[in-house]
Amino acid sequence: MTSLRSKIIPVLTLLAGLVVLWYAFAVYMNAPFQRDLDRRAGEAPGIVEFIGKTLSQPKPTVPAPHQVATNFFENTFLRNVTSNRSLVYHAWVTLSSTLLGFAFGTVLGIVIAVGIVHVTTLDRSLMPWIITSQTIPILAVAPMIIVVLAAVGITGIVPKALISTYLSFFPVAVGMVKGLRSPEKMHLDLMRTYNSSKTQTFWKLRVPASVPYLFTSMQVAVAASLVGAIVGELPTGATAGIGAKLLLGSYYSQTIDMWSALVAGSVVAALLVTIVGLVGQAVQRSMGGRPA
């Protein structure tokens, strides 16, 4: 009950406020076109009728919330999931490459972090390059990756996944470097008094100590992976996926479709971040974490 009061009600209140603003904005943005239409048709509708019309255009500048909601509902729940009109289908296409890229990125990030923590040369040389890699705009890199890989015969899910990897390894690497270095001096001294080997210290101290850092950075990484997968769909002329849906929508000015694809993307992102968070909580509870 307290969580209802303290969390759900404030969130819903804010949401309601946003929906009201959205409606106002939709009326304001769609009004010029509607006025144009009415003038050509020689109509002079009343204010209520006029507002109603601005909120039910087939290709509005800004779709009204209920238009997006209807479109989203129809394309999510009323379509066969194998049909290319189904948002579930498109979300799955994007999700599969997101997950593959996220898995690659997490592994790569951990490997890099272990290298940085254990090899002095890597510690000095690698970090600047890793940071530089993230300053290059992904929109510029994505087409190159896809074209180059296609030239060597790699197509399909892997090139898209690699763009996700490119975005997701970074938070994991940075988080894990911090996590693997998080043990206090006293805990390290303790291992030293046991004459423990580097490998033992790694598995028995550094790895368990880094777990909270791993899950926090994985939450960031999974969201970045999704962005990577969507961006990866844009230059490929992909016919499926949330990115493809966004691109097609913009070609044909199907703004409602675009917005509902956007909503689908947000829902997937929220689900992914939540799932990683829940797995993290479960793992930490099994490691004796004090319940919050």
Partner: protein, 263 residues
Amino acid sequence: MIGNTQTVVQANGLGLTFRTNDGPVVALTDVDLTIKKGEFVSFIGPSGCGKTTFLRVIADLEQPTSGTISINGMTPEQARHARAYGYVFQAAALYPWRTIDRNIALPLEIIGLSKAEQQERIKRTMDLVELSGFEHKYPWQLSGGMQQRASIARALAFDADLLLMDEPFGALDEIVRDHLNQQLLKLWARTQKTICFVTHSIPEAVYLSTRIVVMSPRPGRVTDVIESTLPHERPLDIRETPEFLEIAARVRDGLRAGHSYDD
């Protein structure tokens, strides 16, 4: 301790100077000390007197810059490789993701003992520190005193003959500290270990030790070594006897002398 003359720790002209950005800091200078098997030696002095540093030198956690030190006839590094000592830190330093029994098992896993041997030692040491029944609790579920007892059990499970304790009860309240002091003496009598104990409490040092090493800061050095005349059997109220108070007064004098030197 009749006939027990085996030397455990032997320091000659030991010195340690830390290089810092503000120039060298002399942590220890010219320390000569011999600790025999079965002794309970306390190191007492104000902060910065090098008592913890000396313990860390024995444990090969710091490297001396002059003089020599040997542990059981070996260098500190050899002694560490031979796992010659158990170390108890100021804080319990338990791993929060391990239950108490798994924490005690940690050094045993590292040595590579069999599961059965681990179980046997966990049970024995948890009984020794009176923590039986708390095997499957996580550290945060225990009080500070119990956590520190668990960390002593962990050091005991290691089963080295030398126990190095760095202000193990410093963060605990007086009632808990009294209780743990009593337990520690019993434990020492039962296990016949050699104990080096760092403290800044005069009553604690006098109550526990067979010998008290008084140290003073800037530069860290030994100013007095006091042999205790107290009997081995020490109930808590021994602290009100004239004998006890006399030793305590001598320790206090030693500490004051060290300070006036500085001002």
